[in-house]
């Protein structure tokens, strides 16, 4: 039976690994490794106000977040990707970014727990 976790959709991950523990662990470790890196890249791009870099970072993050199954983080990142793609950046986007980082912090804690199990 899969563990219920409010941040990571484990059922989704289990379906991807199809009961293959090694694959499941590989995916979780890759997520735990990639997510903080990608968060840092996005944060640095946002700090510089570099919209093309924000777009590049959020585009890459899109694939990664899809593997977490966290729909809220995916949705927030979508908005950021769309705004940066069109060269539009407002206070609302900045606020979305802040919320996204908060959600990602929760995700990272959840991932740490899962990868140390």
């Amino acid at each position: 039976m899969s563990t219920i976790n409010t941040q990571i959709d484990l059922e989704y991950l289990d379906s991807m690994s199809g009961g293959d523990t090694e694959m499941r662990n590989t995916l979780l470790h890759m997520l735990a490794e990639e997510l903080p890196k990608e968060k840092d890249v996005l944060a640095e791009a946002a700090e510089r106000g570099d919209l093309p870099a924000i777009f590049q970072a959020s585009h890459s993050l899109k694939s990664t977040l899809a593997y977490t199954g966290n729909t809220e983080a995916i949705r927030l990142n979508e908005g950021i990707e769309a705004s940066s793609r069109h060269g539009l950046w407002t206070a609302e986007d900045q606020e979305q970014l802040k919320v996204l980082f908060e959600r990602m912090d929760f995700l990272l804690v959840a991932l740490r727990d899962l990868t140390s199990e």
């Binding site: 379906s15 991807m16 009961g19 694959m23 995916l27 694939s63 995916i74």
Partner: protein
């Protein structure tokens, strides 16, 4: 009535005067004044005057205010009530000057005081009254054209003078205005704005008035307070009917809003599909990896199979919705590219083969020998049409066989017309449903069972056929089977996309790839899915991974590569730039490489850059493994394939 004969061009005057001496004096003065040609009809009462005006037009009515059947301003009121546009000059007694002034306020052009005018002032008054009346008529005509009315309000007396157009524009019907009573709605509006104007504010607004029988009409209103020469406050205003302009503007706004909504909806659908495809890539890709391996057995394998099948259905639905949306938005474009008909059909055979086998059905495909293999057209859309029809044929057939037959219908030097026949021995379509089968969201129920799907498949198929000037129809018998016919035209001029030769001699189902594939993809988890999928299928395959276009180009210099799978959005150098550089490379072995774009963008086939930069073809994420394998075998050089 005493009458003098009137000639053409004469000024025809109706004299309403009961005193013969006064009447005679008028005639004498007119004769002496040199007024020009004139003729007078004389009557002696208001009653006779009204009868006479009903029968004949007069340039002027000279109206005595003291008559046997009426005196004072009442006389002008009665004339104006029935003939509001009539030019009237009033005759008053010396001590009745005040009546003359009142008569002017009630609509008379001027007044003459008996005993106080001579031949010159009579002629002058009459000429001016005619000119003023003509001027008023022209002004009213102009107002009518512009749908503008004007009014004047005298707060001291409470008198409101409305032009005909004001009344006409606000009347409940389009008939001529019969009286000068404004509607309750207009009165209400005027009361409101007079109050504001009298406070010294200028009014310039758009408003609407409910008019019985006409709904709401829109008016532009301008109004302000001014003062007369006697320093009396009056409010003057104009009112213009702008309903047509307003409605046009509203329609434009509605059209813009609808267009914007459509754009937002399309963006939303494309975005959602894009987002759905990415996680589905993982679900479908890894499910396939698991199913082709030995890791899971029994019940677990069945569960993974269920995930794989459900994802397959979901992907079909996403694709249907995307296609439907693109068709609705007129965004479907058809490519003109060379392709091998037999190769496309073999790919279809391979993709659908599993489903045919799973249902233990027979399969037949026959392409007439005279049907040319190299065609120019949109092979993707042709595949989609056949895939939809064959997919349905398999879905609705429980026993027997499904077949695809292609014959030459017509040909000339530049074109061929082909007839595709898709036959099944399935449940058949009831006659009453055959007309509606191609409609949007139509799902035929059979024996109270509704089959899965969006009900868009055949609607999309029909649109794809008809947008290419083709035809589609069917013959069906319940319990016997169905045959769909599709007539489509293709050009036949030989021309190759990007100089790549398509492997039409290869039966892709028989091939095994044993060469080297360079995967240029920056996302590590996507890399894993691609690597696992390819290695499971072809254990001899060599996979090279590059994180971006620049690294990919460097690897091409150092390694022998047979085919490139290229992501589009990547840091450092994206897939567009990398492919463009590959196409301009000085080494032919690199320049001529097949490069397949990998993208989750639902509308990639309409991306002009894909063709411009030199991509050979594309593969949609999430990968449908069979598609991916077929694409690779289709474009890879023969030496990299073991038959």
């Amino acid at each position: 009535m005493n009458a003098m004969p009137a000639r053409e061009q004469e000024t025809h005057i109706l004299l309403v005067e009961d005193d013969p001496a006064d009447a005679r004096l008028i005639e004498i003065y007119l004769e002496e004044s040199g007024f020009g040609d004139w003729a007078i009809d004389r009557v002696q009462s208001i009653h006779e005057a009204l009868d006479q005006l009903a029968e004949q037009d007069y340039a002027i009515v000279l109206l005595d205010l003291t008559l046997p059947d009426g005196t004072g301003p009442e006389n002008i009121r009665r004339i104006k009530a029935e003939f509001p546009d009539q030019n009237v000059v009033v005759l008053t007694g010396f001590d009745e000057r005040v009546f003359g002034l009142e008569a002017v306020q009630l609509g008379a052009q001027d007044f003459l005081v008996k005993g106080d005018y001579d031949e010159n002032s009579l002629a002058k008054t009459l000429r001016f009254s005619i000119e003023r009346q003509n001027f008023i008529r022209r002004l009213e005509e102009t107002q009518k054209i512009a749908r503008i009315g004007s009014w004047e309000f005298h707060p001291d007396s409470g008198r409101l003078i409305l032009s005909d157009q004001v009344l006409y524009l606000t009347k409940p019907d389009d008939n001529e205005v019969k009286d000068d009573v404004p509607s309750a709605e207009l009165n209400q509006l005027l009361r409101r704005i007079h109050k504001i104007a009298l406070s010294g504010r200028e009014i310039n607004l758009d408003t609407r008035i409910k008019i019985s029988g006409h709904g709401e009409r829109y008016f532009h209103v301008q109004c302000r307070m001014t003062r007369t020469s006697t320093n009396q406050e009056i409010v003057q205003g104009i009112l213009q009917d702008v309903t047509d302009r307003y409605q046009t503007e509203e329609m434009r706004k509605a059209r813009d809003l609808a267009r914007k909504s459509t754009e937002i909806r399309e963006q939303f659908i494309a975005s959602i599909s894009h987002e759905m495809r990415t996680p589905m890539n993982a679900i479908m890709g890894l499910s396939n990896v698991i199913l082709t391996g030995d890791g899971v057995q029994g019940e677990q394998k069945q569960m993974v199979q269920a995930i794989r099948d459900a994802s397959d259905i979901l992907l079909g639905i996403v694709n249907d919705i995307l296609d439907f949306s693109a068709i609705q938005a007129g965004k479907i474009q058809f490519r003109e590219e060379p392709f091998s008909l037999r190769s496309v059909c073999r790919n279809l055979e391979q993709i659908l083969g599993t489903k045919v086998k799973d249902k233990d059905l027979g399969w037949k495909m026959h392409i007439e020998d005279q049907v040319p293999d190299q065609l120019i057209g949109d092979k993707l859309r042709m595949s989609q049409i056949l895939f939809n029809l064959l997919g349905n044929a398999i879905k609705f057939t429980e026993k027997g066989q499904v077949g695809l037959y292609i014959e030459l219908k017509d040909r000339n030097a530049e074109k061929v017309e082909l007839r595709f026949r898709i036959e099944d021995t399935g449940i058949g379509i009831p006659e009453e449903s055959q007309q509606s089968i191609f409609e949007d969201f139509n799902r035929v129920k059979y024996q109270h069972k509704t089959y899965e799907g969006t009900g868009l498949g055949l609607a999309i198929t029909r649109q794809l056929v008809e947008l290419q000037q083709g035809q589609i129809w069917l013959e069906s018998h319940v319990g016997v089977g169905t045959t769909f016919y599709v007539d489509l035209g293709f050009a036949v001029e030989p021309k190759l996309t990007n100089g790549h030769v398509v492997n039409d001699v290869l039966k892709s189902s028989e091939g095994a790839f044993r060469g080297t594939i360079l995967v240029v993809e920056d996302h590590k988890m996507n890399q894993l899915v691609a690597r696992k999928t390819l290695e499971r299928q072809w254990p001899e395959v060599q996979i090279l991974m590059a994180e971006n276009g620049q690294i990919g180009l460097d690897m091409l210099e150092r390694h022998h590569v047979d085919l490139v799978l290229m992501d589009l959005q990547m840091p450092v150098m994206d897939g567009y730039q990398a492919t463009s550089l590959i196409r301009r490379h000085h080494q032919a072995r690199i320049r001529q490489l097949p490069v397949l774009a990998m993208t989750a963008n639902a509308y990639v086939s309409q991306d002009p850059q894909l063709h411009e930069k030199g991509f050979t073809d594309f593969v949609l994420k999430p990968f449908e493994p069979e598609h991916l394998f077929a694409r690779i075998l289709q474009y890879a050089p023969l030496k990299a394939i073991r038959l």
